[in-house]
């Protein structure tokens, strides 16, 4: 979950681009509340213990036989029309998209909001 802190450091830039950051994880609401508190996150973390949304996005991953399933790490930029405009589905769990490259993708694929430079 170390990508959460990187996003936190740039969250003002996401806000400026009218983009809501939202995490999705199999953990419970209580665990997520703890993570938000300890990492000082200023965006929402959603709890998907039944993997309903994780399955809807085709991201169920069983790390080891017999271990509970988790989400395949992945990020999607969804525009105001509900369309995926950018995505990163990593092939190595150490490698997550960098906040700077996500911001660049937002600038590339969505029109800048009026009134910003």
């Amino acid at each position: 979950m170390w990508e959460l802190q990187g996003l936190r450091l740039q969250s003002a830039e996401f806000t400026r681009r009218d983009t809501e950051i939202v995490g999705v994880v199999v953990d419970s609401v209580e665990q997520n509340a703890e993570v938000v508190r300890t990492l000082g996150l200023d965006y929402r973390i959603l709890s998907d213990p039944q993997l309903t949304v994780i399955d809807a996005y085709g991201l169920r991953h069983e790390p080891e036989p017999g271990q509970p399933p988790i989400a395949h790490p992945a990020s999607f930029l969804i525009d105001a029309g509900g369309i995926v405009r950018w995505r990163d589905v990593t092939a190595n769990y150490r490698l997550r998209p960098r906040p700077d490259s996500i911001l660049a993708a937002i600038d590339r694929v969505t029109p800048p909001a009026s009134g910003t430079n």
């Binding site: 170390w2 990187g6 809501e20 994880v25 665990q31 085709g58 395949h72 999607f76 930029l77 995926v84």
Partner: protein, 145 residues
């Protein structure tokens, strides 16, 4: 003549341990969010591990090639083997062990993102479609497992 202690054997293992432990304890947790290159490539840590292996090699050469002046005929190969094992495990963890299977069903660019309602960390309902006209960056991650 008093033979010299083979410090290079310990130095090698020290660099190796520093490189590996430092990656998990420091680079991932503290450095990664700010300097993702150091986390993604593990360059500094791999360099430390390489330096450690170099010292281990020097220690073994001293113990056997210059045995008259250096000690460590048992210690140097023992610590060297330990260091090599540690380095091998580190490289395996960095590369093959962290690969994931493909996720061919995940929505592609240009496709509609499935709408959903889930509960956030404060216990409130969150619906994807209700965020319009904002963009949403949806980040799926592994969590505590």
């Amino acid at each position: 003549m008093q033979r010299r202690y083979n410090w290079a054997a310990w130095l090698g293992l020290g660099f190796g341990v520093l490189g590996v432990v430092g990656y998990f304890a420091w680079v991932i947790l503290a450095i990664g969010p700010r300097v993702p290159t150091l986390r993604d490539t593990a360059l500094v840590n791999l360099a430390l591990v390489g330096l450690g292996l170099g010292c281990s090699l020097i220690a073994i050469r001293r113990a056997y090639g210059r045995a008259a002046s250096h000690r460590g005929r048992v210690l140097a190969p023992l610590l060297g083997a330990l260091n090599l094992g540690l380095a091998g495990l580190f490289v395996l963890m960095l590369f093959p062990f962290s690969t994931l299977p493909a996720a061919p069903e995940a929505p592609q660019v240009g496709e509609a993102a499935p709408d959903f309602i889930l509960t956030d960390h404060a216990g409130n309902a969150f619906q994807l479609a209700a965020q319009r006209p904002k963009n949403v960056l949806l980040v799926f991650y592994r969590g505590h497992w």
